[in-house]
């Protein structure tokens, strides 16, 4: 490994360094404030590293692939982590009253996500995924209050364990068929192996797909999502929804492209089934949901259904890679925007994530209410928001690839979606009671910045499209 390769790994190195410094700092003197500052600085350094590494794009050993695309998502994931850190500062407290370890876990989880994004090998994929996941279990269970966080963590742990087992089994089958574990290697050998032993290749692909589908909470691997979203502290839910899911989707896209899986008709069929069910069932489940965190859990199921369309249409469209980039970016920003407001409003109190708690928010805190409104509109895909451009890309790609069946599922799903997104907005504009104002302005700046970003992506997307096209 030469110097240039080390430079290419700058974000990973920076996050690792932050983790080490945090451990040392915690062993010397427990000080939540200091820990928080170190975490923020560390993530900012990693962000700088992501920019720095752009000049050194290259494969680093067989395990990692550093390229502009990966670095963009690395930056996005780091941004999401930063927002989570800011939100976590005072939204919940731990058993002992302070939460130095929480920040350490968050940095480790982010590190796992970055590795996942840059992985080019099954081993690094698994490493990244488990690093991210194991840290997340602890983060979910971190608050002291109530049993729900614990329940959520245990559920996620057990089910995630099952999913990992399936994923590993898939790797093993693929290895048995091809003798390779790197994506590209599998791609080169798979065609030959398919002729001699199609069953192994296909079974392996199916199990890998199932393992990843769990992490993306695609139907029918979605059942855990609402319970975990609801049970986890709100900033952690936001982290799970953005960092974890985003990184896994990038990894899936890499496997799909590098291992040349798009050539198998039956896999495309399988993905189509997953996408269609995710879009319809996700939206239907969200329809009458009263808990906003559960509602967003279901909504995220639908959104990954939409994203999957792009993957399915990948070969049929020139725009597909841009579409993935744009949609994922829009989704992450919108989700962060929504959870920023929810974290402010509901804090750690589980009762307060009911939609009814948001009634009259417009009269209590205009900035938060506007931010949540814009986020909901973006989720619904209303023009001038990032979500509209993202959905526009997806629909465009689907039309180019003539995926009419999936397109109709998307249209029906979106129509249902508008109902529950608007429901939240209506609820906020109601004037009824609940005027116990919260005058806390701490989250306003974050919310405002994210709102501006969402609106910019939606109303003036050209620079970003040009940028995404160059990745």
């Amino acid at each position: 490994m030469n110097g240039s390769q080390m430079q290419a790994l700058m974000p990973i190195l920076m996050l690792s360094l932050t983790a080490i410094v945090l451990m040392i700092q915690a062993s010397i003197k427990r000080d939540e404030k200091a820990t928080w500052i170190i975490t923020v600085v560390g993530i900012l350094l990693a962000l700088w590293g992501a920019g720095y590494a752009r000049d050194f794009s290259q494969p680093v050993t067989i395990l990692l692939q550093v390229d502009n695309w990966g670095l963009f998502f690395t930056a996005l994931v780091l941004l999401a982590s930063l927002v989570t850190v800011v939100l976590s500062q005072d939204s919940f407290s731990s058993e002992g009253g302070s939460k130095e370890e929480y920040y350490l876990l968050l940095v480790l989880s982010a590190l796992g996500a970055v590795i996942l994004i840059q992985s080019s090998h099954m081993a690094s994929l698994l490493l990244g995924m488990e690093l991210m996941g194991v840290a997340l279990y602890a983060m979910i269970a971190f608050p002291k209050k109530g049993l729900l966080p614990l329940e959520a963590a245990v559920k996620y742990l057990v089910l995630s364990g099952c999913a990992s087992a399936i994923l590993l089994f898939g790797f093993a089958l693929l290895y048995a068929a091809t003798g390779e574990l790197s994506y590209k290697g599998i791609g080169e050998k798979a065609a030959l192996a398919y002729i001699s032993n199609p069953l192994l290749v296909m079974a392996g692909t199916a199990m890998v797909t199932a393992g990843i589908a769990f992490k993306l909470s695609l139907v029918p691997f979605h059942m855990w999502t609402p319970d975990v979203y609801q049970g986890a502290p709100t900033p952690v839910t936001g982290f799970l929804a953005t960092v974890s899911k985003g990184a896994v989707f990038v990894a899936l896209a890499r496997i799909y492209m590098d291992a040349e899986l798009h050539q198998y008709e039956s896999l495309i069929l399988a993905l189509s089934v997953l996408a269609a069910f995710s879009m319809l069932i996700g939206n239907l489940l969200a329809l009458l949901q009263e808990d906003i965190k559960r509602l967003l859990a279901y909504s995220s199921i639908a959104h990954f259904g939409y994203l999957l369309i792009v993957l399915i249409a990948l070969t049929g469209s020139e725009m597909a890679s841009e579409a993935v980039t744009f949609y994922l970016a829009a989704y992450i920003l919108t989700t962060l925007g929504a959870f920023t407001v929810i974290a402010r409003v509901s804090r750690e109190d589980q009762q307060k994530s009911q939609i009814s708690e948001f009634e009259g928010l417009f009269w209590r805190n205009k900035i938060q209410a506007t931010a949540l409104t814009i986020a909901m509109l973006s989720f619904a895909g209303i023009p001038l928001t990032a979500g509209f451009m993202a959905k526009f890309f997806v629909i465009n790609v689907a039309i180019q690839g003539s995926h009419w069946f999936l397109l109709s599922a998307l249209v029906i799903g979106s129509a249902i979606g508008i109902y529950y997104y608007l429901r939240i907005i209506f609820s906020m504009s109601k004037t009824s009671g609940n005027d116990i104002g919260f005058r806390d302005r701490s989250g306003d700046i974050t919310a405002l910045l994210l709102t501006v970003l969402i609106l910019m992506l939606g109303s003036w997307p050209q620079p970003f499209i040009a940028f995404a096209g160059g990745l």
């Binding site: 069953l199 290749v201 199990m207 199932a210 059942m223 489940l285 949901q289």
Partner: protein, 611 residues
């Protein structure tokens, strides 16, 4: 002077606006002065224009401003003045003035005195625009304007819901004709590229041949409009119900002016009709059929105003007959004389109703000859003119129509014969009315007298109804000269004799009693026939079955918003699925794992199936 022509419709319009806006601040006297005076000034101006025109018969056109311009289409607010316009304007402002004057007494005790005159002035303005318009679009504006005023005045006593129903019926039924007419205008514009009435005639000469299908369609569509407004078959059903309005309104709108707008329209566009002989025959047949149907119906009515209403329908049928046989001048002449004697009859009936506690049933009247002499003589003269007894105004006009109808090739004698039957019936029903109401025993005592504001209009109209036949209307420039060959003398003698015979029959049955018809009328067949006629030939019933009921049914069905059911279904389906799926989110991990395993099996099945 010519430029002042614009003032003639403007003054009543301004008066109407003033009455609407400042009704609360005006005394009753001021309201009456404004309402009657504005029409009076319009009448004086019209008279002045008429005298000028008779001295120097020069047709002219005054363009006030460009109304609208769209691409190549432009329409001016422009007035066209010729002999036909003059006749119509004279009738509208002259008869209109007398009726306004009459109204001041008739409506004396009504709370909505100002509203009444506001509507009536607005009607006069709209009617003047209709007859003065230089192009069909402006004419259409007036056409719709009088329709609205008619609606407002029929439903004037809106507290009674039956009146509101009659008003709606009048509006909707005429609306059907209006729509046909609008279609006709569109067709004329696309075919001939203009709506200017004079230009239309020239363009038609260039583009059309006699007998083409395009002029036929256009003329039939315009006929549709005329049929609606002039209450001819099959759109006549609104007029008898329109009698719900105040009686002077019936005199002005539903006898003298608005209902004759259809006659005016066809006369105005006669150059187009000359290209469509079939349409002309259609006009004549519609007119004759309506005339007979309405005459039979009038024979059996007992509401004084309904008798007069059916009589109006019947007389306008004569005008249509005249137009259809090319006797344009005779048609317009009859329009004018009819305006005189029918306004007289309506005002006379108004006087009776006014003095008899709003009694409408002629069999509850009787013996009024000595008690209301002015009204009696009004009715005598009006009925004589209506029956076309010699030397009355109606005689001159109706005689011309019948004689010219006789001369039409082929069907002429039949048209003449039909017209004669109608004339006989007219004489019978009009003198039945006179004999029943004014002779015999007194059934109801009048409780007040007619004042001067009623007597003067009645007297003046009596003179016009008697002498109107001597007026020579200045329309020789407007219509092509009729090739008038005097028919055989016996035709003329029969035409003159028939109304007299009718009067004698009426006398023998209703007054003298020499002719006993009870056995005949009480027979089963005649009873049924009388009921049939009384109901207006069951045409209302027919429309009720064919149109009104199905429409109500449709409306009732749509009231339940059947289309919404589809959306409700969507909602129900979504909610049902939501409930099913939510039930699956039980929180139990074994279920979650089951779902995952199921998913894995599905994926394996899909992928492995192919290999």
């Amino acid at each position: 002077m010519r430029e002042l022509i614009g003032l003639i419709p403007l003054i009543p319009l301004l008066s109407s606006a003033t009455l609407m806006l400042f009704a609360g601040h005006l005394s009753r006297f001021a309201i009456g002065l404004l309402g009657v005076g504005s029409v009076g000034i319009a009448a004086i101006l019209t008279a002045k224009m008429g005298i000028d025109f008779l001295g120097n018969p020069e047709v002219f056109k005054v363009t006030l401003w460009t109304w609208m311009q769209v691409g190549t289409f432009s329409s001016d607010v422009a007035f066209y003045f010729d002999g036909l316009t003059l006749v119509m304007m004279s009738v509208i402002t002259g008869v209109g003035f007398l009726i306004h004057l009459f109204s001041t007494e008739f409506m004396e005790e009504d709370v909505s005195y100002a509203r009444y005159f506001a509507y009536l002035n607005m009607f006069v303005a709209a009617m003047l625009i209709l007859v003065m318009a230089d192009n069909l679009l402006l004419l259409y504006l007036g056409w719709e304007g009088v329709g609205v005023c008619s609606y407002l005045l029929v439903g004037f006593w809106y507290q009674n819901s039956a009146n509101g129903y009659a008003a709606r019926k009048a509006f909707i039924v005429t609306r059907i004709g209006d729509t046909l007419m609008a279609l006709g205008l569109f067709l004329l514009f696309t075919e001939l590229g203009t709506l200017d009435i004079q230009a239309l005639g020239d363009a038609a000469k260039d583009k059309w041949q006699v007998g083409d299908s395009m002029p036929l369609i256009a003329c039939l569509l315009i006929l549709g409009g005329a049929v609606g407004k002039s209450a001819q078959l099959p759109l006549h059903t609104w007029l008898p119900d329109a009698m719900a309005g105040p009686t002077p309104v019936s005199a002005l709108i539903h006898a003298a002016t608005m209902v004759t707008a259809g006659v005016y329209l066809i006369a105005r566009t006669h150059e187009l009709y000359l290209f469509a002989p079939i349409a002309m025959i259609a006009v004549a047949l519609v007119g004759l059929a309506t005339s007979l149907m309405a005459a039979f119906t009038a024979l059996t009515q007992h509401d004084i105003k309904r008798i007069l209403a059916y009589s109006t329908i019947s007389q306008i049928g004569y005008m249509f007959l005249a137009l259809g046989v090319g006797a344009w001048t005779a048609g317009i002449f009859h329009l004018m004389t009819h305006a005189f004697f029918k306004a007289l009859l309506f005002l006379g009936s108004g006087a009776i109703i006014h003095c008899l506690h709003h009694e409408h049933n002629i069999f509850k009247m009787g013996g009024l000859r000595t008690r209301m002499p002015v009204t009696f003589w009004s009715f005598m003269i009006g009925s004589a003119a209506l029956a076309a007894l010699p030397m009355t105004s109606g005689f001159f006009s109706k005689d011309q129509i019948l004689l010219q109808a006789y001369q039409v090739d082929g069907i002429g004698p039949w048209l003449w014969f039909g017209g004669l039957v109608g004339a006989l019936l007219t004489a019978v029903y009009s003198f039945r009315l006179v004999f029943v109401v004014f002779f015999g025993q007194v059934n109801t005592e009048p409780d007040k007298d007619t004042g001067w504001r009623m007597v003067i209009p009645l007297s003046l109209l009596c003179i016009l109804a008697m002498m109107g036949g001597w007026i020579i209307i200045p329309v020789t420039q407007v219509f092509p000269l009729a090739v008038f060959e005097h028919p055989a003398h016996w035709v003329e003698y029969v035409s003159i004799a028939v109304p007299i015979v009718g009067v004698i029959i009426a006398y023998l049955i209703f007054l003298g009693g020499q002719l006993k018809v009870d056995v005949f009328t009480n027979s089963f067949v005649m009873q049924k026939l009388q009921q049939f006629w009384f109901s207006g030939w069951r045409i209302d019933w027919l429309y009720d079955q064919l149109l009104v009921r199905p429409y109500y049914g449709l409306a009732r069905a749509l009231k339940l918003e059947p289309v919404d059911n589809f959306y409700r279904l969507v909602v129900t389906i979504s909610q049902t699925f939501n409930q099913w799926l939510s039930a699956g989110q039980s929180g139990q991990m074994r279920r979650y794992i089951t779902s995952m395993v199921f998913g894995l099996i599905v994926l394996l099945a899909i992928l492995v199936r192919a290999s």
